[in-house]
Amino acid sequence: MIVEKGSASKTIKNVEMEMEKLLKQTSNTMQKASTVWTDNGQKLFFQKHINEFYNVQREMVQNLNSIAFEIQHLETKLKSK
């Protein structure tokens, strides 16, 4: 895991990229988990758990993207003063 030090927006952008990698991994895990089937068609606890976790992670990545953008804007604005 490499995260460069620098401005806040740069740090957040780098974290966003790392979180995206984890999100991809969770997506793969979710796909693997879906290969386990139950005879009554019900989802198992870990399948529900991973799906829920994937959604929160995705929300976090989207959020980091908008935070990085806003912070960069804020930094640029303050720097121009």
């Binding site: 995260v3 969770t26 089937w37 019900q42 976090m60 959020n63 804020l74």
Partner: protein, 243 residues
């Protein structure tokens, strides 16, 4: 009780490992964001206090010039210069205050989501524990059966009665019948499977035929089999037999 169907026994361990990796890395990453935002917040706060102090100093200087003007010592240029500087500082303070307020909003939004994610991560060790337990149960089940039935016979019925391509494996109390992809069942197949099992010395009481196709449903149901959906376009049929 729910029965599980898995393609790979290692799946639970693999899922647990992936969860553990996210569990280790995500909190560190989120802390970095939190620190970056807190650091920025602190910089804005310090800058605001400093700017306020500068404003106060300039206002005092302007007041002093005002008093001097009353005494007849005009210094219009100096006053103009100070008023320009005051305007610049007030603009800066305004920008800093707006930025700080925006940052507060971003921080709250981030902390809320961070809490949500951390709460989910806190439940992960429990999930990993359960996954490992399932893996162990599945492993034990297979071990018991392979020990108990190390004669677990994989037989091709082709050798005995010309039914092809069908394989039968005895596992636990069940005869698992595996059909080759594309094989369509007929009455002769079902009769041969059942009579073969009834004549064998094994005491199983259930037949399970995997990978049946929808075109087999009719004949299977006529023969007392129950169809089961195991996934998209993935069916099996089972029937209890009397010995």
């Amino acid at each position: 009780m729910t029965n599980l169907k898995i393609k790979d026994l290692g799946i639970f361990q693999e899922i647990a490992q992936n969860i553990n990796q996210v569990n280790t890395q995500a909190p560190q990453l989120l802390n970095m964001v939190s620190n970056a935002l807190d650091g920025l917040n602190r910089e804005l706060f310090t800058n605001m206090l400093e700017t306020k102090k500068e404003i106060k100093t300039i206002e005092l200087e302007i007041n002093e010039i005002g008093l001097a003007n009353k005494d007849g010592k005009q210094n219009d240029n100096k006053e103009k210069e100070l008023r320009n500087k005051l305007k610049y500082l007030q603009d800066r303070l305004n920008d800093l205050q707006n930025s700080s307020s925006k940052l507060d909003h971003i921080l709250n939004q981030f902390k809320r989501l961070q809490d949500k994610l951390m709460y989910m991560l806190s439940k992960m060790p429990n999930a990993v524990g359960k996954l490992n337990a399932i893996q162990q149960i599945a492993q034990n089940y297979l071990n018991i059966n392979s020990t108990g039935f190390d004669s677990a016979k994989i037989q091709s019925t082709r050798q005995d009665n010309g039914i092809a391509p069908i394989q039968i494996k005895e596992l636990g109390d069940t005869y698992h019948v595996k059909l080759k992809v594309g094989k369509t069942l007929n009455q002769g197949d079902l009769t041969a499977i059942e009579s073969k099992l009834k004549l064998s010395d094994y005491k199983g009481n259930k037949i399970s035929i995997d990978r049946v196709s929808q075109s087999d449903f009719n004949i299977l149901q006529k023969n007392g089999y129950t169809i089961n959906s195991n996934g998209p376009n993935d069916f099996s049929a089972f029937k209890n037999i009397e010995r």
